[in-house]
């Protein structure tokens, strides 16, 4: 699809927030929202979340019901001031993360940067072996279809809807 055309404050939210609230919908039509670490794949204009193969409910839901939502409403840890709250509604595609695409290295690096204590964990071969399932992951790509923005995180206000536009 190419890069998304986004206001800088929204792009900063995608890049800097440590968690998002990611929703899938199960077979019964029940929404299920969990805090999830997001990754913004800027060149492809998509958001990526991953989950361990040990806990794949999000994956099964997204395969069955590809309409998902990603809310960025908790700025804890993000080096931003007065960050907006952003809701992305998008279409999900799913792939097992086995072939090490270049962005997966960037995502790994970003994740360790956000959780510095995890560096010693991933550097320990025994820990990696015991927790192999943590590193066997499935990626859920979210292609934005609708983006709503609440300036300064003020959800009392009516949100601004951004046109989802890709850079030519």
């Amino acid at each position: 699809m190419g890069a998304l055309h986004l206001p800088p404050e929204v792009e900063a939210v995608f890049r800097e927030f440590r968690t998002c609230e990611f929703t899938t919908v199960n077979r019964q039509g029940q929404p299920l929202t969990w805090p999830t670490e997001p990754f913004y794949d800027a060149p492809e204009g998509r958001l990526i979340v991953t989950c361990s193969i040990a806990f794949p409910v999000k994956v099964y839901n997204a395969r069955r019901h590809p309409q998902v939502a990603v809310l960025f409403s908790d700025p804890t840890g993000a080096p931003l001031t007065d960050a907006p709250t952003v809701l992305v509604q998008g279409d999900a595609t799913v792939t097992e993360l086995e072939d090490d695409p270049p962005w997966s290295y960037e995502m790994f690096k970003e994740s360790i940067h956000r959780q510095p204590k995890a560096r010693s964990f991933v550097s320990n071969p025994l820990a990696r072996r015991l927790f192999t399932f943590q590193f066997q992951r499935v990626a859920i790509f979210v292609q934005p279809r609708r983006i709503l923005v609440w300036p300064r995180g003020d959800m009392v206000q009516v949100p601004t809807e951004l046109e989802v536009r890709y850079v030519e």
Partner: protein, 154 residues
Amino acid sequence: MWNKALIACARTYPSGVLTVVEDSGYPRSVRCLVEFDDARELILISIPSLEVVGRQGLACLLFHRHNVDMSGQRELLIKGELHEEAGNLVLHPGDFLTGSGRQDTDRMPYAGSPMDIIRYMMLGRRKAREYLAKRGKPWTPRPWGKMLRYLDTP
């Protein structure tokens, strides 16, 4: 069913994230204030943005937090049905879910005791084996050398 221990956890959060599913099929989430009615075993939702008011049906309410370095993670999800009652939005709770599977705390395993971590490891290994058995082939080993070297690239 009303879970007193997890409701006590939920009370420690300043706000929660309510999610409904729009007619389009897309989920819609909003951060909101909530009040807990122990007598009626209901959760009253105060929606600052009026957009989800009137949307009744299946919904969920998430509470979560973490420290700036992502330690101390806690998460709790309440599944339920959203109703409008006398002009108020009310969540009738169904299941209470936590990231650790426990029904007495919202603390994630890594934020817990060594025993919590061991339980989590055993559960994760068992579940991963089930996934791989269904898949019918093993997972390709991770290229750890390359991955760790990448951490130090500028």
